[in-house]
Amino acid sequence: MASLDDLKKRIASVKSTQKITKAMKMVAAAKLRKAQESAEKGRPYSEKMNNIILNLSNGISDKENVSKLLSGTGNDKVHLCVVMTSDRGLCGGFNSNIIKKAKSYFSKISAEGKEFKIITVGSKGNDQLKRVYGEKIIENISFKESKNANYFDADKVGKMVIEKFEAGEFDVCTIFYNQFKNVITQIPQAQQIVPLNNVEDENTSDESYEFEPDEDEILSNLLPKNISTQIFKAMLENSASEQGSRMSAMDNATRNAGEMVDKLTIEYNRSRQAAITKELIEIISGAESL
């Protein structure tokens, strides 16, 4: 059995760890509120953008010559995967969930005999992916310096994606991120952004618009913006998810540390008692032998 001194030291160390995790939980909770707020505030923009594009693509006259970003290249050979993770660890299963989702997508694609390339956003994802898929990663971006998700960072990623698309480096682009549902639940998402999937057709009106300049020009201007917007949305969702995930992970850690302290304290008291009893027996038996 460990000596009394050792036990005492261990209790002290667990307690200080508990303090740290508790502090991290508090910080995450405060950041979560902000991140959640900005995720909610960011939603109208991406929704409106989506609506406009939907209306536009319905009204478009010349389906043949429409921008490739909308209709696709006609091929389905090379997939570009933008994997968005956090820059910091200690946030539970947040990063692993995204990676898992991405990896299953990779194996599905390779099983179909298609190629894929990876762009990682955030250093944690890069760390986890480079061991297995090192040669597939063509770009790694991390926004450690920026405190909050901001549009300019998203725009940088978006511009890069478009550049690569125009250079013909890929046919399909998918982004991977965690959608924030609530503090305990984050859903890893794979969203295809190029070509654009027009799935939701239900809320489009038949109303015709006047366009100035014409549809094609607006569309070709709008689509690149939409990519940045989608990436920005993913970043906002991601940052809220990250904080939520960290908060619950740190909450668990704090609780576990508490349990550990209780157990160690009982053990400590027991061995202290045992030592006292032992000493007493020694004294009594010494006195008896006289």
Partner: protein, 130 residues
């Protein structure tokens, strides 16, 4: 019948402004300034750098935008933009910074005509503001 309609300006971070008592909005559309009154036909257009003016019952607001999209439908005007500044609140230094940035862009870019035109527009507007 009232002559008012609703306008909402959103940027990626948040809903920037929302007003219900708007009488007229003048936007710097790509092919020239455009005034929008109530019951305008549904329209989608995009913006070049310039000044958005909102005339409402409660007064007049002016904003400087660098880019964006306007959509008008059912007396509901949405302006999506990634960079917008209220001219009443913006500081002189900020305007000068923007101008400097735009001039740098203009000097180095060998971009196509359209972007060049946009940058020139930006510089012109900023100069007039400064």
């Amino acid at each position: 019948m009232s002559e008012e309609f609703k306008v909402e300006i959103v940027n990626p971070e948040k809903s920037y402004l929302s007003k219900e008592d708007v009488i007229e909005v003048v936007v710097p559309a790509f092919e020239g300034e455009m005034g929008i009154l109530k019951d305008h036909i549904s329209i989608i257009s995009f913006l070049k750098p310039g000044i958005v003016t909102i005339h409402s019952k409660s007064g007049e607001d002016k904003f400087y935008v660098e880019d964006g999209i306007v959509e008008f439908k059912n007396n509901d005007l949405s302006i999506l933009t990634s960079s917008i500044f209220n001219l009443n609140e913006i500081e002189k230094n900020k305007l000068q910074d923007l101008l400097k940035l735009a001039e740098e862009e203009a000097s180095k870019s060998e971009a196509n005509d359209q972007t060049k035109y946009l940058i020139d527009q930006k510089i012109e507007v900023l100069k007039s503001l400064n």
